[in-house]
Amino acid sequence: MSTTTAALPTKLWNGGKSPFNVEYGKLMMWYFLMSDAFTFGAFLISYGTIRFSSNGWPDPNKVFQSFPGLGSGLPLMFVSLMTFILIISSVTMVLAVHAGHNMDKKGVVTNLVLTIIGGAAFLGCQAWEWSHLHHEGAWWGLNPFLNADGTQSSTNFTNYFFTITGFHGFHVLSGVVINIVMLIMTLTNQFEKRGHYLMIEKAGLYWHFVDLVWVFVFTCFYLI
């Protein structure tokens, strides 16, 4: 991250090097994430449009109110746990990227393992929540919940919930797989041989993006 070289912006466009002062793969990761942001944005805006066009909508505090082992009547509790798991795994990912900058292999390995555990824990939570909701009779095309005002609800609520959290969960799963690949590459000294840990940085960008999307999904489905 040698942003200090940006003293004279005109020189950046004289050719010979990236005007963004960023490695090619990292720039492409940013553009991929931008396109992915539009995909998630389209999903969430579609959800918002349908919700704004409906006369009633289920109350998330009535729908998502169970905690494994503690029963029901606990709105927001389980999703708070999921949110904190993802935030903490994002922090360990930053620490892994940081350790990579310092060529600290041990630090990269420790923090990548912690990040993978965090991602797996999040997926486990989501699997529990999905199976719990499915047990209650909710699925694509099935909505057992009433609107907040006690009127009949359409299946839009469950369709959007399962589609969007499923798409996000699939991103988490890919992120975990990518992080496992990064861990194997670190352990086999691939990055030591290359002389840099830039791949960890790209995997980190993807992982933070997954966390970022959860910030939006969490707000749109559970809080509002």
Partner: protein, 143 residues
């Protein structure tokens, strides 16, 4: 957290920044949850709207901290920041236009389709609360 200690020799500032941002994200999430819990007891519609609005603002602040510090976008060149952020500014228009459209569709349908409006105001009798199979049966009975 052994990492934080180890890296201190080379780059103390960066690690400090990571923990500072972690603290900010945690506090923002706790505030969001506090508003969420408080909102359950509120019945005033305009107050609920204001609380939802403040949750959205906090969400945007969280997104800023993740992108700016965890993804290091704030430390990139201005060119680089602009090439990512400017296209995403389209979202402002997307969100405004689509939510307006959704709301307008609801109002038009309520005005010109009285049957639809009537259907969405019938309360479902709560006889078998809690378990899916029962309540979905009771739903069918209403229609």
């Amino acid at each position: 957290m052994a990492q934080a200690g180890h890296a201190e020799h080379s780059n103390n500032g960066a690690v400090k920044e990571i923990w500072k941002v972690t603290g900010i994200l945690t506090v923002l999430t706790l505030v969001e949850l506090a508003i969420g819990f408080y909102m359950m007891k509120v019945t005033n519609a305009s107050l609920i709207l204001a609380l939802k609005g403040s949750i959205v603002i906090l969400m945007m602040v969280k997104a800023f901290y993740i992108v700016a510090y965890f993804m290091h976008l704030k430390h990139e060149l201005r060119n680089m920041i602009m090439t990512i952020v400017v296209p995403l500014a389209l979202f402002i228009w997307f969100i405004a236009a689509f939510l307006y459209e959704g709301n307008s569709y609801k109002n038009l349908r309520n005005t010109y389709d009285p049957y639809k409006k009537e259907q969405t105001t019938i309360k479902v009798e709560k006889k078998a609360e809690g378990h899916g199979e029962h309540s979905s049966e009771s739903h069918k009975a209403v229609e």
